[in-house]
């Protein structure tokens, strides 16, 4: 384990250096997300004021605001570029440069991406959590912060990131097989946006759909960590959803290994 870490730690470092080089990209990416966040806020505000009720599907307007901010934070934390990077490396053949090294292909990606994400995540998470708490406290008039809730949220986010990472790796291998990465990736992002509760909280869906979507792996990405933070899952329900998350993480981890074995035989590294 310690030796493994020593091998892959440099990839984190390489990832961090990459971000330092492409900081401007990241700033624009975040600005885009923040804008989407504001748009979402104004839409929901209109929905609530035209609905005439304080609570919709168990969400008050102040909880909705918290939901939007947490959605913004969570999606950033668990974001993974895997599908894109794998697809590109296969397409342009640079995957060969990973293959000639005695390291696990997926693991080098994972650690490189962690390096990409860690610094920005800390920079983002601390003020965002603070903002969420200020909103919650002022709108409800009482302090709702719970350290346990925060720790469980972090745990849930870590699992969600692993699900997303391995899911995207799998998706990259499949997109490579059907040779249609760009379109497939766009479609995937749209569908996941809906299935994971990014567009509307799953609680707003008809019961049967909600139940189905809650079981699918995509709810484990965004929705579960947010519900945990907001204290909507407690007791056995909490354990059930954490367990489901762990299940999906293992599922996609195993699937990515199997797909990798199939893909590597079909590689046709071009050029050079």
């Amino acid at each position: 384990m310690k030796r493994k870490l020593k091998i892959y730690l440099p990839f984190i470092n390489a990832g961090i250096q990459e971000v330092a080089t492409y900081r401007v990209n990241w700033i624009f990416y975040m600005l885009g997300n923040a804008l989407a966040c504001f748009v979402s806020y104004f839409i929901w505000k209109a929905v609530y004021s035209s609905g005439g009720t304080d609570t919709m599907n168990g969400f008050t307007m102040s909880q909705m605001v918290v939901y939007i901010v947490l959605m913004f934070l969570t999606s950033t934390i668990i974001a993974s570029d895997g599908a894109w990077v794998v697809g590109e490396e296969i397409r342009d053949g640079s995957i060969a440069m990973r293959l000639i090294k005695p390291v696990s292909y997926n693991a080098t990606f994972l650690f490189q991406e962690l390096g990409n994400k860690l610094p920005t995540e800390f920079a983002l998470a601390i003020p965002m959590i603070f903002a969420v708490e200020v909103i919650r406290t002022t709108m409800s008039g009482e302090i709702q912060f719970s350290i346990l809730g925060l720790l469980l949220y972090i745990l849930s986010c870590i699992i969600a990131y692993l699900i997303n990472f391995y899911f995207n790796i799998c998706f990259g291998f499949i997109a490579f097989a059907i040779k249609y990465l760009w379109g497939a990736n766009m479609m995937k992002n749209c569908i996941i946006g809906f299935l994971s509760g990014t567009v509307i909280p799953l609680a707003f869906l008809p019961d049967a759909l909600e139940k189905l979507f809650l079981f699918l792996p995509f709810a484990s990405l965004n929705y579960t960590p947010i519900m945990i933070y907001m204290g909507k899952y407690t007791g056995t329900e909490l354990l059930y959803y954490l367990g489901l998350q762990i299940f999906w993480a293992f599922f996609f981890f195993a699937l990515s290994k199997a797909l990798w074995k199939a893909a590597v035989k079909r590689l046709s590294v071009q050029g050079g």
């Binding site: 091998i7 250096q17 053949g93 000639i100 090294k101 590597v264 050079g272």
Partner: protein, 335 residues
């Protein structure tokens, strides 16, 4: 050390009819054709040997290297390196080899070069003291010091290639694969790299397989050559064998003031040369021709030429390997 047995690689290539209609059709019902990049090639390489792997563009050299290094899975046939099959246990196998692709880099684009080496040190589990010794050695051979602190993306092509070769040697591999290691480099860097390869081979008995289409690389480095063309093996042997086997060619240079000397001389008709027995290049006053001296002796060529036109300077020499190989490239299938 290296056994390659009837190695074959086929690619499927999608072809697309022209126009929008063709593009749409190719999404739903792609047409594929089979390209045989490597066609049942066999050869062996002994320990400590430098094998020059040559052939024209598209011959299949890189594809063979990719199969030998475990990047591509062969369609059929087998290769064994050091008793290991590259695709069977990739992570275990690649510990023992070093690989450089001239047209790609294995260095981390955004890291200072020095850090690439410390990453590789961890990956290959090189102990601290051997790492220090190794870096000093590589630095001496490849002269890395002047750019070791620069990020890789700022290196010149020559620096990058030296850095890449050093990276491939950090873990003292038993076999070194170099695919076009001198491509696009200037004479000084080429020379530095050749000497480095020779030195490593000499010092550590590293087996080297080197592909190139720069024949100077071959003449200066290789003990043996394997030449392939259109995916098949057309020659396997030492350079001197190549020269005696195909070396009856001689080159004749001369300078003349006569306008249009080639037409006046008309060697083809006079001596009845077949097309592949004679090759003429005329450029201004200089004429350079290579011909098969077993068809027409050198003395006959000389006396005929001197008798026909006014020549100011004339010389004859053995065809160098380049000429021989050019000829073989052209007629690969007949050999």
């Amino acid at each position: 050390m290296i056994y390659v047995d009837k190695l074959r690689k086929e690619f499927k290539k999608t072809i697309k009819d022209p126009g929008l209609k063709g593009s749409i059709k190719s999404i739903f019902k792609p047409k594929t054709i089979k390209v045989i990049a490597v066609k049942d090639i066999s050869f062996e390489v002994a320990e400590g040997e430098i094998l020059g792997f040559i052939g024209p563009n598209g011959a299949g050299k890189s594809t063979v290297i990719k199969m030998l290094t475990g990047i591509l899975t062969p369609t059929s046939g087998s290769c064994t390196i050091n008793g290991k099959n590259p695709t069977e246990n990739r992570r275990n196998y690649v510990r023992e080899i070093g690989v450089v692709f001239g047209q790609r880099t294995q260095l981390w684009w955004d890291l200072p070069l020095r850090e690439t080496y410390s990453v590789l040190k961890e990956i290959y589990e090189v102990p601290d003291d051997s790492y220090k010794k190794r870096m000093a050695f590589l630095n001496e051979v490849l002269d890395l010091d002047s750019f070791i602190s620069s990020p890789v993306r700022t290196l010149s092509l020559g620096q990058r290639m030296r850095a890449d070769i050093a990276a491939s040697l950090l873990h003292s591999p038993k076999v070194l694969f170099l695919d076009e290691p001198t491509i696009g480099l200037d004479v000084v860097v080429k020379d530095n790299i050749r000497r480095a390869i020779e030195y490593i081979n000499n010092q550590e008995k590293t087996t080297v397989i080197l592909t190139t289409h720069d024949l100077e690389d071959i003449e200066l480095l290789a003990n043996r050559i394997v030449m392939i063309d259109k995916g098949t093996n057309v020659f396997d042997g030492s350079i001197s064998e190549l020269k005696t086997k195909y070396g009856q060619f001689r080159e004749l240079y001369f300078e003349t003031d006569s306008p249009n000397p080639v037409n006046i001389l008309n060697y083809e008709n006079h001596f009845n040369f077949k097309p592949d027995e004679l090759n003429i290049k005329a450029e201004g006053k200089t004429v350079k021709l290579s011909f098969n001296s077993s068809i027409v002796p050198v003395s006959d060529m000389l006396s005929y030429t001197l008798g026909k036109i006014n020549v100011s300077d004339i010389s004859v020499k053995d065809a160098d390997i380049e000429v021989i190989i050019r000829r073989m490239y052209k007629h690969g299938e007949n050999l």
